[in-house]
C-alpha cells in the first residue's frame, strides 16, 4: 500500500515538547497534524484543532503545556501489509482521517491519510473507466453491438 513515508521525519514531535514548538512545527512544515513519537514508536496524534482547543480555548500557556497533555490517544495505527480497503474501512469505523503506519516492531514508518486513499481510489476508478472506454472504442470499430456481445444474435 503506497503511503507518504517521505513525510515521516517532518511530522514527528516528542511527548515532552511544548505546545508552542508544535505550533511552530506545523507552521514551518506546513502540516496540520503531528505524530507524537517515543523511541520511534507513535504514541499519539496532535492536530491544529487540538492546539486551538487545548491551548487557546482552555487559556493555557503554550510554553508550559506539553504535547502529550493535549494529544489524542490511544492511537489507531495500521501495518505495512494493510491494503487500501483495510485503510479506508479503518478510517471509516474509527472516524479518523490519518493512520500512522508501523512495522512489526511497532515503529513508525509512514502515515496514510484519507487524502492519499481518495487519490488512490480515484486512480482505480479512472483506470476502470479508461478500460471501459477502450472496450467501447474497440467494439464501435469492429461494428460490434451490445446484443452480439451478450449473445442475442
Amino acid at each position: 500500500m503506497p503511503h507518504s513515508s517521505a513525510y515521516k521525519t517532518v511530522l514527528q514531535i516528542a511527548p515532552h515538547d511544548s505546545a508552542r514548538l508544535a505550533a511552530e512545527r506545523m507552521r514551518n512544515d506546513n502540516v496540520g497534524c503531528l505524530v507524537i513519537v517515543d523511541e520511534d514508536r507513535p504514541v499519539g496524534m496532535l492536530t491544529d484543532r487540538d492546539l486551538m482547543l487545548g491551548i487557546l480555548h482552555e487559556r493555557r500557556d503554550p510554553d508550559q503545556v506539553t504535547v502529550e497533555e493535549i494529544m489524542s490517544k490511544p492511537l489507531v495505527t495500521i501495518d505495512t501489509l494493510a491494503s487500501l480497503s483495510d485503510a479506508s474501512r479503518l478510517m471509516r469505523s474509527k472516524r479518523i482521517r490519518r493512520l500512522p503506519i508501523v512495522d512489526d516492531d511497532g515503529k513508525l514508518v509512514g502515515i496514510q491519510t484519507a487524502d492519499d486513499v481518495i487519490e488512490l481510489i480515484g486512480h482505480r476508478v479512472s483506470d476502470l473507466a479508461s478500460g471501459m472506454r477502450k472496450g467501447m472504442a474497440r467494439d464501435d470499430a469492429a461494428g460490434v453491438t451490445p446484443d452480439s456481445v451478450y449473445g442475442k444474435e
Binding site: 491544529d48 492546539l51 482547543l53 487557546l56 479506508s88 474501512r89 480515484g122 442475442k152
Partner: protein, 194 residues
C-alpha cells in the same frame, strides 16, 4: 441547474474586531473549524480557520490577547451568491485552490460550502450509479443499458479526477466507503463473477 442551496452548512460568523480567544471559544462551542468574519454591516470580509489561529497566533510567541480576528483572518474572502450552482462552487474552488466558500445573500453569509460537501454529492451519485449498474446487469436488456451507465460513470470519474488535481482536502467517511464499495462491485462485474 442544481443550486448549492440545500448543500450549505450552517455558517458561524464573528466580527472583525473580536479577539482571537473569542474566536477559539466560538469554534469550540459551535464545533466548527471555520468562522466567516463580518464587518459592521454583517458583510463577509474574511475567513478564519483553526489552522490560522495556530500558525498566525500560537507560532508567533506574541501574547494571544493582543490579536484581533482581522489581523489573523484570510482576506479577501471568496464568496458566491447562495443561488449559484454546485458547478459554480466547484469551479471557484478549483481555480482559486480553496476548500471552503461562503454562500452569500446581498454580501451577507448565509451558509458555507466545503469541498467535502461536493465530494459527498459525487459519492452519492456514484453510489446511485453503482446500484443502477448492478441491477441493470441482471436484467434481460442489460447490455444496452450498461453502455449508457458506463458513459455516465466515465463522465463522473473525469469530474472526480478534475477535483483531485487541485490540492488535498478533507475526506469524508461516506465518500471513502461509497467508492470502496463501487470499486469492489465493478471489480466483480469486470471479472465476470456477477
Amino acid at each position: 441547474m442544481k443550486t448549492a442551496q440545500n448543500l450549505t452548512k450552517r455558517v458561524i460568523t464573528i466580527h472583525r474586531d473580536a479577539g482571537v480567544l473569542e474566536a477559539a471559544d466560538l469554534m469550540a462551542d459551535e464545533a466548527v473549524g471555520c468562522l466567516v468574519v463580518v464587518d459592521d454591516d454583517e458583510r463577509a470580509v474574511g475567513i478564519l480557520t483553526d489552522r490560522d489561529l495556530v500558525v498566525r497566533v500560537l507560532a508567533t510567541h506574541c501574547p494571544e490577547q493582543t490579536f484581533q480576528v482581522s489581523q489573523v483572518m484570510t482576506q479577501p474572502v471568496v464568496s458566491l451568491p447562495v443561488d449559484s450552482s454546485v458547478e459554480d462552487f466547484k469551479e471557484e474552488m478549483r481555480t482559486m485552490g480553496i476548500r471552503r466558500i461562503p454562500a452569500v445573500l446581498d454580501g451577507r453569509p448565509v451558509g458555507v460550502i466545503s469541498i467535502d460537501d461536493l465530494l459527498q454529492v459525487l459519492a452519492g451519485e456514484l453510489s446511485d450509479l453503482s446500484e443502477a449498474a448492478w441491477a441493470e446487469l441482471r436484467s434481460e436488456r442489460r447490455a444496452a443499458r450498461f453502455h449508457r451507465v458506463e458513459s455516465d460513470l466515465r463522465e463522473l470519474t473525469q469530474r472526480i479526477y478534475g477535483l483531485l488535481q487541485y490540492g488535498s482536502w478533507r475526506a469524508r467517511e461516506s465518500f471513502l466507503s461509497e467508492l470502496d464499495e463501487l470499486r469492489e462491485r465493478l471489480g466483480r462485474t469486470a471479472s465476470g463473477e456477477d
